[in-house]
Each structure stands twice: as C-alpha cells, then as structure tokens.
C-alpha cells in the first residue's frame, strides 16, 4: 500500500530536488518526493493530509549520544537550564542552590521508603558563582537517607553526610585530589572524578554500566527522540555484554519502537584482537533497528575535567596536561585490523594533542592497510585547528564536533580551560566545512540535552550561556547546519545511502515540525516545535506517546 503525505513544505536534503510538497511511502521506504501528480504515477495510493500544515525534514540523526539520556530521568533533574523529560514535561532550571535543595526535598517527600536514596542530576554550579553545594546543604534534603546530585558534566557528584558515612568517607585524614575537605577536616561532599565518586555513587543509585544498558532507559530514550525529531541515534559507546545486546535487539524489534540505534562497542581492556572479533560477531547480529559492529576508542579525557590531552602550551589556568586512556600501540593495532576487516572506528579526542595522536595512528594504519572510504571519525575533536582539519581531509576522515559546549561551558573555556583564542576556535565547524571534512555535530546526551535542532542552533550562533558569541568566524549557515544533523551525521555512520535525505529508495524517516526552520532563522532554530516523527514509515506523534 502506498501512502502519499502532503506537507506544507518538505526540505529533502536531496540537492537535485531540495524541496517538495508530497512524499510517497511504501513498505517503510520512500518512493519519491515531489508533487502529488508526479507521485500518483506510482499507482494506487492513499493521500494522508495529517501533515498538511507541517514541515517535513529527513529524520534527524544524533551522531553522538548515550542511551543513558533515557535512564537518567529516573532521577530528579537539577540543572540550571530548562530541560524536557521523556514525557514532554519541561523542567524549569533550578537557578540557585536553594532551588536545587527545594526540588530534591519535594522528591524526597514523594518517596515513602525511608531507605531509598534521593538522587538528582544535571547540577551545574558554575552558574552559582563561587558558591559550592556542600553536604550540609544536602543534609537539608535528608539527614538519614543518602542524597546525591550528579553534575551536568557527569564528572562530579555531590552527596550528603549520610551517603559519605555509608561510603566510608565521612572521616578525617583523606588525602585525595578529588575529595576537597572542609575546615573540620571532613569531606565537603563534593566528589570529583570517577575514583572519588565510586565508593559512594552506587549508594545513590549511579552505576554507569547499569545505566548504559537499562531497558527502561532505552524506552525513555526513544520517547525523547520522537520529541526531538530524531529517528536514528547513536549509543556511543557501550561494553555491549551479550545480555544487553539481547535486550536491545528485543526492544528495538518491537513494532512500536520508534528509533534506529547505532551502538558502538567500546575498547576498554580487551586486546585489539578480541575487540575486533567481538565487533565482527556483533556486526553479524545487526538488524535494521539496531546497528552493531562499529568501534569506539577513547584517546583522552575531557577539557572541563582537565583530563584532555592538550598540545603546547596546555591549559590556560596552568593545570597539568590530561591523561591518555589508550596507548598509541593499541590505537594503531585496532585501526589496522579494523581497516582489514572493514569495521568502522570512531575515536574520542577532546584535546588537540589527542587529535594529533589519532591522526598519526590512523595515517600509520592506512599505510599498513590502505583502504578507501573508511570514514573513521574523530568525536568531539573540540580543539582541532585548521592544519588538523586539512590532515583529516587528506586521510579521508570525518569529524563530529560538539558545538553545544559553547552554550553550556563556553564561558568557562574562555576564562579558564583553554583561554580566549582557542575557545573561539573550539568546534570549528566552518573550518571543517571549508576544508572539505565531512561534518556531524552532536549533543553527547545526557551531557547536554538530546535535540539536533538545538545543536544546530549552537553551531549557527556559537553563543555562550552569558551571551558571548564565541568565534564569530566559525559559525556556519542555517542550511549547512540542517544538512549536518541529517546527511552529515548519517555519513559518519556509513548510513547516508539509507537515511539522511528524503529521496527515492531511502527509508521513510521524517522529522515532523510545526515550524519551518528556514523561516525561523538562525535565532529561532532552537524554538522550532517538533510534532513527532515518521520512522520506517510508522507515524509517531509526540503528544500521543
């Protein structure tokens, strides 16, 4: 059966036919986009008018997110900025420590079981000036139950006295850079970095491995995807134990599951050989709705956590250089074996020294194992300079930049981490495009909210939370940004032949919008309302979820 959807306007991303008014769908795939007359030629059809006043775009593609974006909503949102939950409710930002405490108290009162912890997430105290959340603040939420609030960066956890006590940390004499002490010699309750968090995080319900493979989270993630126009999203990345894979295969195969997920296997402690074998086995398990087999390598840490590897002269505030997470020999071995076997590798490099190392290792691997069209992608790659983009182009690489950082932490990057000049070139989308490097942009949800239209707004405006435009020359145009969140991201996942544009033969994946992003303009892009999605020909209305 053929369905022809009539829309107010269809932005196809097909350069040969950039706009249309109708799109014909059969068996979950697109027969064509054009006028009703043109499409009627395919034969007997049903005309569907429900999108007559809506705008259709190709289903949006989130090229770097984590399924945890769904799972974190089991906790109380305590962020500074407004944020939409999977039910579509907008949680207003908690703009002071008192507001955070009030919100957690309210949540505590709603929980009957006095043993259950009270858990929040999304805290971003840089907006509170010099004030820090201390355990005494969280003791106001509860003196008996463990209380914890994860920061927006997921690098810092604040807990109350009860949680410290149960974690064995409410004692004097702890000497650790991640555990600041108060005047009384006891921890203040701020736990910085994974080591410091670990003794307490499980007591307040935070277990990243668990959150990454949580069935409820997988379902909630999909609801957020529908609400943000996303039809394909990455899970970047997971250790993908077989039980998690089985669960994900089952859920994504359900007829009502509205999302295609690309889940990458993370290199952690496997040998390169074992990693490649597991990736090949996963590739064989791939389905339409769950794409497996790609690999993620993490080269360094994060810029705001000062664990990213920077080239000379390093951090603006003089912090020592960051950490390597993977030895160069291992990176080279994985790249070479992946090129041999045709596996896709995405590499997290935040600092420019990590980017240099990845480029060097990929160049060596390509010399050992020449390959065309490998689409190896650098993820985040926030500090890359023009020379590095030229080198990426020469090596046939893609990049997925992180413009959301400008809004959330741009002021901090300017003042503290990398300083004004490099803050302005961070996430240099315009240079990437000018260099001819295939570009995607991402949210890294849940670090920042899932929402490619917002990410596009960040790339187009480069505005920080305080209103500073950080790097006017690296802003990209509206149409480039829209292409980047559809075809651009699809290309980095080797899916551009299937998704990313509305044209004959591709999957019937649409973002259904109430407003026209081209009319909304650079300023209004983030406020474009999403009606829902069509995914593989199935219609999902956000309001009906």
């Amino acid at each position: 059966m053929i369905t022809i959807y009539r829309a107010k306007r269809i932005l196809t991303m097909n350069p040969a036919r950039p706009e249309a008014t109708h799109v014909a769908v059969r068996d979950g795939r697109i027969l064509g986009a054009g006028t009703l007359d043109e499409l009627a030629g395919w034969g007997e059809h049903r005309l569907d008018d429900r999108f007559a006043d809506k705008l259709l775009m190709p289903g949006l593609v989130e090229g770097h997110s984590h399924l945890m974006e769904g799972a974190v909503w089991a906790y109380v949102y305590c962020g500074y900025h407004d944020r939409m939950d999977p039910d579509g409710r907008i949680w207003p930002g908690a703009t002071s420590i008192d507001a955070v405490i009030a919100r957690l108290r309210e949540a505590a009162q709603a929980i009957d079981d006095p043993a259950r912890p009270v858990v929040g997430w999304g805290l971003d105290p840089i907006h509170f000036g010099a004030a820090r959340v201390r355990r005494a603040d969280l003791d106001r939420v509860s003196a008996e139950r463990p209380v914890g609030v994860m920061h927006a960066s997921f690098h810092i956890l604040n807990v109350n006295s009860a949680a410290l006590e149960r974690g064995g940390l409410l004692r004097r004499g702890i000497e650790h850079p991640g555990v600041p002490l108060g005047d009384d010699g006891l921890p203040t309750g701020e736990l910085k970095g994974p080591d410091a968090m670990m003794p307490v995080a499980p007591l307040v319900g935070f277990d990243r491995e668990l959150l990454a493979a949580d069935e409820r989270g997988l379902r909630l993630f999909a609801r957020l995807a529908v609400r943000t126009g996303v039809t394909t999203a990455t899970d970047l990345a997971s250790l993908l134990p077989q039980n998690a894979v089985d669960m994900m295969l089952g859920v994504t195969a359900e007829p009502g599951y509205p999302l295609r997920i690309v889940s990458l296997l993370r290199l952690m402690n496997q040998t390169p050989q074992a990693l490649i074998e597991r990736a090949l086995a996963l590739r064989a398990l791939s389905t339409d709705a769950l794409r497996l087999g790609a690999i993620k390598i993490v080269a360094d840490g994060s810029i705001q956590g000062f664990s990213a590897r920077l080239r000379w002269p390093g951090y603006y505030n003089g912090a020592p250089n960051g950490l390597w997470y993977t030895p160069p020999e291992v990176m080279r071995a994985v790249y070479t074996r992946a090129l041999e076997t045709g596996l896709l590798v995405h590499t997290h490099t935040n600092g420019d020294e990590a980017t240099d190392l990845a480029l060097e290792c990929i160049e060596a691997a390509l010399q050992a194992q020449p390959a065309r069209d490998h689409r190896f992608t650098l993820q985040h790659c926030q500090l890359a300079d023009a020379a590095q983009f030229r080198r990426m182009k020469a090596l046939g690489m893609c990049v997925n930049l992180f413009p959301n950082h400008h809004f959330y932490w741009g002021d901090e990057h300017y003042a503290m981490t990398v300083g004004p000049e490099r803050a302005e070139r961070m996430n240099a989308c315009a240079t990437a495009l000018a260099s001819g490097v295939p570009l995607a942009i991402h949210s890294d949800a849940p670090v920042t909210p899932l929402g490619p239209l917002f990410t596009a707004w960040c790339a187009v405006n480069r505005r920080t939370a305080s209103g500073r435009v950080l790097g006017t020359r690296e802003r990209i145009g509206l149409e480039d940004a829209l292409r980047t969140i559809t075809l651009g991201a699809a290309y980095t996942l080797r899916l551009d032949h299937e998704i990313g544009s509305i044209e004959c033969g591709k999957r019937a994946d649409f973002a259904v919008l109430e407003d026209d992003p081209l009319e909304a303009g650079a300023e209004g892009l983030k406020d474009v309302r999403v009606w829902g999605t069509v995914q593989d020909g199935r219609v999902f209305e956000a309001a009906a979820l």
């Binding site: 080591d195 670990m198 003794p199 950490l323 030895p327 020999e329």
Partner: protein, 327 residues
C-alpha cells in the same frame, strides 16, 4: 564487626608502559607466592595476562589460581573491584593492581586513600631497559612516562640483559634523576624475589600470632637471580623503639634498604608494624598483642646493605643495646 578488626589489606600498584614486563612480573610473583594469598587485579591489553597453567578455576569474573591466589579483571572500575576484595573468603593477604600502560600509578595509589579497608603498600614501576628512554622522549608519551617513574617507590629496570654493559650505568644515572627517592632494582624477565617486590610477611595474616616467625621468615624463591642480587638482615629487637623515627631513618638511601618490615614495640608500649619501601616509610598500630622480642627484617641489594649503619640506626632508636643477629 569482625571485619573492622582486620588490618587494611596492603595494595601494591604495579605500573609501567606497555611491554615493560608488568604481566611477566605478576606471573612470576604468582608462581613464587610461597603460600601468600595474592589477589591480582589486572586491566591491560596483554593477550594472556595470567599463565594458563596457573589457573585452577574460572567463574567468569575471578580466576582461582594455584596456591590460593586469585585474579580479577577490573574492566572499567578498579575502585569497585578493590571494594569487593576485603569481603572475600579466604581474605587475600596482599593485593597487586596491574595498572594499564598509560595509567598513572601515582593516581591509582592516591585513590586507595578513599577506601578504608585497603592501604597502599608501594608503587612499583617497571621500565624496559631497551625502550624506556625512547618512550620518555616520545612526543606523546614523555610526560606520562615521567609521571609514572616519579611516582615509584621501587623501579624495576627490566630486560637489562638486552642492553650493552656500558649503557647500563648511564641508564641507572638517568633513572635516578627520573625517579628520585625510588630504589632501583635490575632484573631480567622480571625475575625478582617476592620479598623484594612485595615486602616481607611477618605473620600479618588476619592478625595471627607471630610465633611462626623464626629464621625461616625470609625465604627468597630459589632463583639464581634472587640469590645473586639480594641479601637480608633479620634483627631481634628486645627493647621498645621510637617507631616513627626508626622508620624514617631506615628510608635513608645511605643504608641501602630496599624494603624493611618490623613488628616492634613502640615507646608507649603499643605494638606496631613498621614498613619501609624505597623512600616511603610508616608505622601502623597492631591489634594483636605481641611476643617479645620484636623483629625487623631489612632487604637490600647484595653488598649495599650497610650493616654498621643499620646497627647504629637501630641503636639510636632504642638507645640501648640490641642483639644484631644475621640470618
């Protein structure tokens, strides 16, 4: 609670870049554990971290090894693995953490302060005699290698047989600047006596009485290398000592002590454990009442232990005569 009576489990952090011999060292120590229950936490990219013939059982998470040792892979979460170890029965005597090739062993050691049931024993960093200087000059790795070495209490200069003799002295001099305060141990195929790497065990298991401590307490594994490289002195100490002062004094490089351990009576009459490794030293209270005399065992490189200075040091710490008895 019974668990609280146990002394913290000593944790030895083993660091060093890929190929330096961390896995070889771990396998060597497991092979010569001499009845000590070692728990090894590994996170590295070695194809076969543990020699297959040592493995007695594999339950998916924990390998049970010959001689009561175990091995766990900690994957993404070392802290979680460390938190679970003290609850294991039988309780491990000592923990070895094999850090990954690019990890900073000093940071791993610092994180132990967050856990009340474990305590740092020492940071042991291996250096591949053939490649360490090249890695330390590598554009990407230089600061990582420097930070690894700087954190070391013991540096094991491994694969020394692969380096020309005339280059060895220069390598030693260079390492002394890179790892000031650390004791430098030469090795081939990471073959070193357990006691030099992990310290002497003085009946510390679960607070058991020290009656078993006699002249047999220090038995280096029967390897040629061990006999050729190390010697030890065991001293019976009748008097009470200034524990902290003695520990600090024994760490003086002039004495040539690689490791020392003692069960002694402090000036205030309490029983203490004293330990020295490289430049690190400390004392801890002991829960168990003690036998007299106390004992102190010092291990040093052959010909480098200054017995006269040791005697003088101990004399100062006791201010009285002490029996110095060599084994």
């Amino acid at each position: 609670m019974g668990a609280q009576r146990n002394p913290p489990m000593p944790v030895t952090v083993i660091g060093g870049y890929l190929g330096a011999g961390k896995t070889t060292l771990v396998n060597h120590l497991l092979r010569h554990a001499g009845g000590r229950r070692l728990a090894v936490l590994v996170n590295d990219f070695g194809a076969l971290p543990i020699d297959a013939d040592l493995i007695e059982a594999d339950d998916g998470e924990v390998l049970s090894l010959a001689g009561g040792c175990i091995c766990c892979s900690f994957g993404s979460d070392l802290m979680d693995a460390l938190m679970k170890l003290p609850a294991r029965r039988p309780r491990p005597d000592q923990v070895l953490v094999e850090a990954s090739g690019v990890a900073l062993p000093g940071a791993v050691a610092a994180s132990l302060a967050l856990l009340s049931e474990v305590a740092l024993d020492a940071v042991v960093v291996l250096a591949d005699a053939e490649t360490v200087r090249a890695h330390a000059a590598d554009r990407y790795l230089a600061d990582t290698i420097a930070r690894q070495l700087r954190a070391a209490d013991l540096v094991i200069l491994n694969k020394l047989d692969l380096v020309a003799p005339q280059a060895q002295a220069a390598l030693h001099a260079w390492l002394e600047t890179m790892a000031p305060g650390a004791k430098l141990l030469d090795a081939r195929r990471a073959q070193l006596p357990l006691e030099a790497v992990l310290g002497v065990e003085l009946g510390a298991r679960g607070g058991a009485p020290v009656g078993s401590l006699r002249s047999g307490a220090l038995q280096p594994p029967p390897t040629v290398v061990a006999d050729a490289l190390f010697e030890h002195v065991e001293i019976a100490v009748e008097q009470s000592v200034d524990g902290r002062g003695l520990a600090t004094a024994l760490a003086d490089p002039a004495l040539g002590v690689v490791r020392a351990k003692g069960i002694l009576r402090d000036r205030d009459g309490t029983s203490i454990v004293l330990h020295v490794v490289g430049a690190r030293s400390g004392i801890e209270p002991r829960a168990v009442a003690d036998v007299v005399p106390g004992r102190l065992v010092c291990i040093g490189l052959k010909g480098r232990l200054d017995r006269a200075a040791l005697r003088a040091t101990l004399d100062r710490a006791t201010r009285t005569a002490t029996n110095l008895k060599e084994c």
